[in-house]
Symmetry: C2
Subunit: 347 residues, 2 copies
């Protein structure tokens, strides 16, 4: 347990910019005693924002870093500006041990590329993966990975993702033995790619893991609360994630259209507002915020670009938990159970 | 144009069984003059059902085929029973030229395996694909393929799917030059697998196709009405399709839960019924029914298993259109534009 977690914030990233990032820090600080921040961004702007949140006084250090990564910057361009940008410096602070974790709401591709280059992949992991929390109809959110870091994956990658996802779920969802499934186009053992079948066989054959491996799951069951962790390659994961976003918006757009189609519907809409509010809260990415780049020597949490201060505060909360409960140690423990680890195979 | 299209019906398949399939035939017949049917199934049962629809008299031939494929039958088991089952016989009727197309609401895997074995893949196509119509917020439905017939696909397969999907869209959506996109995890040229990048390059480089190739599309845009045809490998397609189904159900379940959470919401719910009805109609698979197995020497349309008589009648309508407007010829025309056709590559 870390008594005084220190979080590096890329205060320039995200749609809301410094005002949202600093407000988020203030909210996180109000919840977590002992928390302090390294804020990277324009000094004058950040000092102004900090002045609006007296609770931050004495718990914030501003590092003047006016240059920033935009949403349009390609990862390859971004890494060349690691030393001058708020994003790059926040990650570097984690590497240097000046902060326990970094949080950014900026460009995901740039954040992944910079993090990977600066922090390097942890021992026993071939490729880091992007994990996120998704809403379900069950009690807990769902941890899903990889969501786009790796277009193609072999069975070893998938097994490592399962181990990393389970460690993440144990910490963030508080589940002792998370129910882990591999995303597939059927639940029978013969379905899917060889990589999926081999990964399932490895996970089935390995005892003493801190998870319950449940085999395959189909993507129409993702929101049912039947799994705590769903593992997939980055291509399928990205397709599933964006299909969810698109379909949720599709249905709510249709609803809006339907509700405004007649006076009677409009009246119904007004009466139903609390119900629709509940729907919005449940689907709001701010309440499931904190995508994390797992498998590095350091913790980097990606907040949704359009997140509110509450959303970013949730992401900071995730960063604090991962740092405090030492996710890397938990991943290493489970990896030790596999007879042929990917790192040995490569060596 | 076929003056008197004759459709082979697997009258035993689907959740509704013979009563739904025969009622569907009656509805389709009421719409399409000149239509006639070959009904495969239990003679006594079918004769009883036909008697309830006087409009079918004189336009139906019943072929006694009491044996049927169940939802649990594996494709490998099903193909051994091609000669004795209503599904197998309906497909055989297409092969023998006794019917212009076959329609079944039964087991998809069995239908695909049987169709492929009986009808064989058409010249110039390496692998057939499963295409379906999906709802959008635009004017037209979306044609998406492959939805699960081919777990892994190379660039040639994807190009052939694009050609087949465009031909399908021209006939079923009535669009002269369908807007075709490849499903990817980004829209930049460098994104995705080599198969996707190569397929995009081939489609871009080929003139005179009956389509407008728009490059890549991400899965959050599927329902926006921006594409008429979306092409993907069967794994990603199946993931996207089932994620859509799951998310739509997730949102409507949440809504139901929200609407029943207070008396005020309940009152709102009652007032909003017409609006919600519109939503249901739009999402109802019966209104987008008619998945089709493209790339065979013959037309096989798969109706949704839970489809109503109207839904199956829509599927029959699709079968009639595809037969009347000679989809195979249209596919062959576009394939001829490619300098290196898959069939030549293989030979």
């Amino acid at each position: 347990m870390i008594v005084a977690p220190r979080i590096a914030i890329d205060a320039m990233g995200g749609d809301g910019g410094p005002s949202v990032m600093v407000a988020a820090a203030a909210r996180a600080r109000a919840k977590h005693q002992g928390l302090s921040f390294l804020l990277f961004g324009d000094e004058t702007v950040l000092a102004g924002e900090c002045a609006r949140h007296p609770g931050l006084a004495g718990h914030v250090e501003i590092v003047h870093t006016p240059d920033m990564i935009s949403g349009e910057d390609k990862p390859s361009q971004a890494i060349r500006r690691a030393k001058t940008t708020s994003m790059g410096r926040a990650i570097a602070a984690v590497k240097a041990g000046e902060a326990h974790a970094a949080v950014s709401a900026g460009n995901t591709g740039a954040l992944m590329a910079m993090s990977k280059l600066a922090l390097r992949t942890m021992a026993g992991i071939d490729r880091p993966a992007l994990a996120a929390l998704l809403p379900t109809l069950g009690e807990n959110d769902l941890v899903m990975l990889d969501l786009g870091a790796n277009t193609e994956c072999d069975s070893q990658n998938l097994v490592q993702f399962a181990v990393m996802g389970a460690a993440y779920a144990r910490i963030v969802l508080g589940v002792e033995a998370p129910r882990v499934s591999l995303l597939n186009i059927g639940t029978e053992e013969l379905k899917g790619t060889d990589a999926l079948k081999d990964a399932a066989a490895m996970l089935r054959a390995t005892p003493h893991l801190h998870m319950r491996f449940d085999g395959f799951i189909e993507s129409d069951r993702l929101g049912r609360g039947e799994a705590d962790v769903v593992v997939t390659d980055g291509f399928s994961g990205n397709i599933a994630l964006k299909t969810m976003e698109g379909t949720a918006r599709f249905v709510t757009d249709l609803l809006k259209r339907a509700f405004t189609s007649s006076l009677r519907s409009k009246a119904g809409f007004l009466l139903s507002r609390p119900a629709l509010h509940l729907l919005r809260v449940h689907l709001d990415p701010n309440n499931h915020n904190g995508a994390v780049f797992l498998g590095l020597n350091g913790i980097v949490v990606k907040s949704h670009g359009g997140a509110t201060a509450d959303g970013v505060a949730n992401a900071i909360g995730v960063a604090v938990k991962l740092a405090s409960e030492d996710i890397s140690r938990r991943i290493a423990e489970d990896l030790a159970n596999f007879p042929t680890r990917a790192s040995e195979k490569v060596a």
